[in-house]
Assembly symmetry: C2
Homo-oligomer: 332 residues x 2
């Protein structure tokens, strides 16, 4: 069952449709999409929706309505009774939006959750994790924490058994693009933001990115998922990049350093301290080489030293592939 | 059951001893070490060896003999009858050494394998994978493919469902140290090798490292594990770094590039092409920032773009933690 049928959900349908054989061959898993919920209601077919047909109609509720008409189905209110929910609704970090209700309903119905949107998790993660534990369900959310860049997986699988003492990340491509422009081309914040907006990287209202809120949401989810904290957005000190000046950056560069918007979570005694702020990054920190819209994450561990992961496509297909990965890892 | 009781195996015993509670709390897994095989024979206790006591005696067969004496055990020939084998014997990439027999015996006895040493896998991976499949057992070997640097896991978990088209890695710390010295301090190969030997980074006989054989073993295991090939060392074109000159490197650096010993595996039609050779790495390739004894790996995928992972401690504790991670991932 999929809630929200935007571009990422459509890309996921495409991957599922193309990779059916590969999933059986490699993982002995076969997924059937029985229900998709859009803003106008749910399409449902017990035997599984006809994915190639659905793909002809593009994304959004219009696509669902056209599919329903062609297949002689009627749109109905969402019913939660499948094995898994893939949550792809628009992110609302203020209230959690419809996604929060969808996830709660799905957990009530003992469904595993793969969340691509981050709003619901940011608003109510402790509550949702508690519900999931009671229902013996799992919640995965790679798509919500930097998508194609592996973040959660590294902590969960590659560092299994290790003590992670600190996580540092450049988790927002837009703000990193702006800081890179300021650093490499000596632009002011305003000029760099304008370039980002003109090239379609920053939105008309760039607040979520430049104020550090998007980064804060992501590091919050990572801290709660990997360091065992139960924090919400209010627990995080968040500082954006609006006040970073050309001079700050050029000053840092004298010693080969640079300024990056760093989202970090660190163990301090038994507490987990999470913050987002522009920081001077030393020349020997691998995050210094994360430039433009790229993202990166650095794990500090007691046993394995530091592990840095960078890259990952930031297009909708990358986010959809992150959701597919979570689906596979839930059932392998 | 553990075969080989060198420093890595001892570090693993230490981790298992320290992390017992954490493993139960986090993963609901409890490991019992019943048997350890050294060159003089096996110590065995059905109820589980007394790990803190064993740790008092250091590593090696002497430690096993002292433990046996204290516990009134007799050293016996290896018997394979546990759930899992952790293979830690000295690596022999020519014949596979004792490790090859240990792994075969263990698979015969339906045991899962975690291999820290790479010799047996390099020599006989297709055969061992076939045996494992017949017996429905699994073989994990993070410790043999760059240890604390996540390589296999990234492919297996973080890129689950993706098509990996190419893997490029700097997988040998010693040769990378030498090339970095040549690049940053304008040393000749011979001078840089000498520095590496004097600082204990290169061995007195550095052939495995500088001739690219160690890198070849690792990329071979990754290609066979992640790209589905069934290759052995003879299928790989291997070129070491002995003929790289100061001039080659300085020439590459004019354009901001550098020369690195790159182990690569790429899909070409239905074949997998694996090679190891010194290559010019462009300034925008994230592997260019992997310096000194550090290692790094770059995955090219169809769905998620490129993903780069660097770092990971190269000490025995890091290798032991990689084995522990494999053990957890086998049973979670």
């Amino acid at each position: 069952m999929i809630t929200g049928y935007g571009i990422v959900a459509k890309e996921l349908i495409k991957l599922l449709s193309e990779k059916q054989e590969l999933l059986i061959d490699t993982y002995k898993i076969s997924f059937k999409v029985t229900a998709i919920v859009g803003s106008k209601g749910m399409i449902y077919e017990e035997a599984g929706l006809d994915l190639p047909k659905l793909l002809q109609y593009g994304a959004g509720s219009t696509a669902l309505m056209r599919y329903a008409r062609e297949q002689r189905l009627s749109l109905q209110p969402p019913i939660f009774r499948e094995d898994m929910l893939i949550e792809c609704s628009p992110t609302d970090v203020q209230t959690g939006g419809a996604a929060l209700e969808y996830i709660k309903n799905a957990l009530q119905a003992n469904m595993n959750i793969v969340s691509v949107s981050k709003g619901a998790l940011v608003c109510a993660m402790p509550e949702l994790l508690k519900m999931a534990k009671e229902k013996e369900c799992k919640i995965k959310y790679s798509g919500a924490t930097a998508a194609a860049l592996p973040t959660l997986d590294i902590g969960e699988f590659s560092l299994a058994g290790c003590k992670i003492t600190k996580i540092e990340g450049i988790l927002n491509g837009t703000s990193n693009f702006i800081l890179t422009k300021m650093s490499e081309e000596n632009k002011s914040f305003e000029a760099a933001l304008q370039i980002a907006q003109e090239s379609g990287i920053a939105e008309a209202n760039p607040d979520l990115d430049i104020k550090g809120i998007d980064s804060a949401c992501k590091i919050l989810l990572l801290a709660n998922g990997l360091l065992g904290s139960q924090l919400t957005l209010e627990d995080i000190a968040i500082q954006g990049i609006m006040e970073v000046t050309k001079r700050d950056i050029q000053h840092a560069k004298i010693n080969g350093n640079d300024i990056k918007l760093i989202a970090s979570a660190s163990l301090a005694n038994r507490d987990v301290r999470v913050e987002v702020k522009p920081k001077i990054i030393k020349s020997d920190n691998p995050l210094i080489d994360v430039k433009g819209t790229n993202k990166g994450i650095l794990f500090y561990t007691e046993e394995m030293g530091t592990i840095c992961c960078t890259g990952g496509a930031s297009h909708p297909k990358g986010a959809a592939a992150a959701a597919l990965k979570d689906m596979i890892n839930l059932y392998r």
